[in-house]
Every structure is written in C-alpha cells, then in structure tokens.
Symmetry: C2
Subunit: 301 residues, 2 copies
Amino acid sequence: MATEIIFGHLEDVSVGDSFVNYKAMNKVGVHRSSMGGISGRAKDGADSVVISGGYENDSDQGDVIVYTGQGGRNKGGKHDKDQTLTLGNAALVQNLLNAQPVRVIRGEDRKNSFAPASGYRYDGLYRVESYWSEKRVDGFAIWRFRLEQLVATNTIPQPIKKSSKKAIPLGNPSPERVETTVQRVVRDSALSKSLKLHYQHLCQVCDTTIETNSGPYAEAAHITPLGAPHNGPDIWENILCLCPNHHVMFDLGVFSVADDLSLLGITGLITTEEGHAPSLVHLEYHRNHYYKKLIQPLDKG
Amino acid sequence: MATEIIFGHLEDVSVGDSFVNYKAMNKVGVHRSSMGGISGRAKDGADSVVISGGYENDSDQGDVIVYTGQGGRNKGGKHDKDQTLTLGNAALVQNLLNAQPVRVIRGEDRKNSFAPASGYRYDGLYRVESYWSEKRVDGFAIWRFRLEQLVATNTIPQPIKKSSKKAIPLGNPSPERVETTVQRVVRDSALSKSLKLHYQHLCQVCDTTIETNSGPYAEAAHITPLGAPHNGPDIWENILCLCPNHHVMFDLGVFSVADDLSLLGITGLITTEEGHAPSLVHLEYHRNHYYKKLIQPLDKG
DNA sequence: ACCATCGCCGTG
DNA sequence: CACGGCGATGGT
C-alpha cells in the first residue's frame, strides 16, 4: 500500500527548511521519491516536486515556475521519444483537476537566483495552474506545467503554530491529515468586459448565458494564455466569450478550434459577431499546445 | 459624461501614498467620490472604496476585508430601511461579475490596526470575491462584500515603474488606460475530491460531467462558504458537487435549494447519492444570504 | 515482480 | 566539471 500521500504542508516541516540530500527529504516525507523529481501517484496526484535545474527550459520566477514533466529519455538520459501523460506527469494533471496543492522544493542551482546555495529547501505550496505540450527542437514532445505560488489568503483560520508540534487536530473525516484549500483561477483582463458586452454575454460555443439578478455573467478566455511562457496578447482577437463550462473545457484542451471555426473534440462551431474575428495564429497555438487529442502516444521503435 | 473611470493602479499613485482628505484623493483621482465610500457607477463597476470604520460590522484582516454596502439610512443617519443593490452596491457587484479590481483606501481608524494613524492611504488592489445580504438586529437588510487583496502573480510583465512617470503606454485598444488582470477564484477543500468521486463528477443539478483526457472534472461548492465571516465547515454535508456553470450560479445566488431539495430560482432539484445529505442548516444559510430573490426591495414608508 | 527516475559518487 | 555507472524506493 506504500506510504501515505499528504497534500499541503506537513506538521514537522516549515517553509524554508533545508535538507542535505534526497534521503533527508525522504525521511521526513517532504519528498517521498528516492530519485524522481515528482512524488505522487498518477491516480491521486503529486504531493511534491523538486526543481533542480535539470531541465534547461525550466523557468523560475519565484512565484511562477514552469516545470517540465518526466520521461521521454532512454537509459543514457537522451531524449528519444515523446513524453506521455503517465506517472508523475499524470499525477500533476490530477492536481489541476482536483485543485490540490503541490509542495515545491528547490535544489542547488547556480543558474537560478531563487535556488538555495546548497542542498534542498522546502519553498511552500503551489497550485498547478495549467499544463500544455511543447515540441522540442529535436521534434519530441514534452509536457510542461505552470505552477503558481499559493499565498495564504485568510480563508480558514490556520491552526498551524510553529512553536507547538502536533498541531492540526481538526478532527474532520478527511482522508488527508492536513487541511488545504486551493483555488481554480480564472483570469479576466481589462479587455474582457468589452468583448463580453459585444457578445451580450452569450457563450460562443453553446449560445447560453447566465442571468444573475445584477446582470449577465460570462467569462473571457484567452486563446494564447496571458503570462509566461505563452505571453499571449490582451487583444480582442485573442479572446473568446465563453460560459464557465466551456471555458474550463477550452483551458483543459477538451476541445479546440479549427481555422474554419469548427470545433475539434466536440461538435459545433464558434459563432462570431461582426467586428470580432479570432486570430488564426492563436487558434493554432491552442491546437498545438492544449488540444490533447493531437498528441498521440508514440508507437514503440 | 462624468470623469473617466479607471480600474486598477493609477500612473501617479503608488501603493502606500497618503492623502490628507477626500479633496486630495479627488484631485489625483484615486478616489473620485466627494463624500461616498464607494466610487463608481452601477453599470460599470466601482473603481475605489474607502474604509473608514464607519460601519461597526466591517472587518479588516489586511488581506481580507468585509465591507458593508451603502444606503438604508435616513437623513439623520439612522437605519430605517433595507439597503438595496443600487448605486455603489450595484457597482461592486459589477466588479465581481466582470472580475474588475477595486482600489482600497484606508482612512484613520484607531480600532483598525491596518488603518493609518491619520488621513487616508492607498493600499492597493482587491477583488470582490463574493457578496451576500445580512439582517441587522433591527431587522433591516444590509449588503456585504468580501474583498481579497490581489497579489501580483507574475502574469503580464508589469510596465509600471515607480521611478518614471508616464509609464503604461501599452497602446492597446482598451477603453481603460491601465492594464489589469484579475482572477475569479474557486476554492476547493481537502474534502472536495472524495465527494466528487462519490458523485462520479456528475453535477447534482444537471447531471452532466466534463470529461477530459485525464479524467472527469467537477467542482465542489461549499453551501456556507469557508472563511470569515461565514466560517462554514469543511464537511460533506456542507458541500455540493456541481458543474462550473451551476457553481457560478449557486455562488451568485441565481438559485438556491429548499429543504425538500427542490431548486429555487430555476426548475429542478438536487439529486443526492446515498451517504450524502446536504445540511438543512447550511441550505437555509445560503437561502437567507445568497438567494437574491428572497430580498425584495422595500416599499416606501 | 518489474520498471522508471530532475540522485549520488566515482573517475577522466 | 562532464560523464558514466551504480542504485534505492515507490509506483504500476
């Protein structure tokens, strides 16, 4: 049955605590994998990841980390196949689907100003904000995960006291011992409102709107996401007006949009109003990076 | 045409800047109302609010503020009617619907440890996370808004430089001059996953699920919200398994649930699986505080 | 039981 | 400092 997976902070480990090597982390359980960068199970989610600068493309801006998945290498360490959404990669996807936090541990890395000078350091909880695939220059696909630091907004009174051990006795019937509250995040830019008005808050996929007593509700979905590493622009051509359901589906790659605005993955098409034409460049970006069905598991050999 | 509403930070005002009085704030535009605590328009949203300790029930925890709406008083300042969702209150609702940030300014208040010693201080951007109604002891209804501080997660490279004025020349076609990115947030607790599994990720309202390539997706909605001032418990009886659309509708009070589990506001009923019974106490809490149609505008006299 | 892995400690 | 071999542990 293996050891217990615990999401969130641990009782005996504080943010900033240092460890000399993997074995020390294994001992206290802050990272339970003996060699791997991702600790967790494909079905349940990842409880921790280690960032050691092993992947040249990884980016670390402190509160935002772009983390590359595992796999795709042969025994010699050379990339010789696509990464797949299995093992640790699949676990990180579960974190996104279930809004589970992941502990982030930074390992020594001279090239990373956020990394410790030596050993490993527990740097707190992050959410898996999104994931997508990229093609390396050698043509092999990798999966990447955007991690965002969870700042403890005052939600549940935190029972954790550094001074006293044996805290967190909430006594609820949770399968996990530690109380965690994570967030799904929907970004909305300055331009969102005008586009939603243009569409009268009707979803461009299903033509429905949510009527509240204070006006209609819809969400603006950026086709190429804002922020690193995508750096999509905040312009009308890069935004769709969607209901929450189709927004989630779009961000998770359940469906995408072809150049003729027909839908891929589900039936239907994107309806447009005069004055708004989604950019073909950005639609292609979404298809290539987010539309999962285009990424087939590679045949052996 | 009135003066221009600008959401987000202003070019010439930094977080922490102080002002001696309302006139000084009016002059630079950080707060454009000459007397009111809420600046903005009912149709467009609120660009700023002032917290001065005028409402005894207001709570300020720094990153989370519970702000009481305006109105309900006669000329003498005494409460003699219900507050309505008009004027500034309606404006704050728009901020929630459109994920627009609101500038928070704290005024002198000895009882508030986060308030400045004198005058007014610009304390940065907050999101309107939720709103609900409460009944005062005298029986009159008030509207309350939970504001959460926006921490600048690294999304768009910030063009704002304190040193140089005249920054932010993004040159995009936005009706606003300042680039802002706000987030709608969906909390998900440690218990959410088990309940969603119990319902096989089917929405308890519409019986649909969102199938991704990596598993089904649903959201857990707390009936009485977690966190101050509601402090709902993180237990199964206080959670519903919903699709994103119905989650938004539930949180915005578009519908609520009667004791017999029939829906109010929309047709249908909550389906339950054996082993899960929503708490009647919490359903009543939601009806009383979130289900807007129970709150009728009071007749004159 | 087998497998995969952002380690670890040697040599050049 | 690069590279290669050894290698333990949890996941499948």
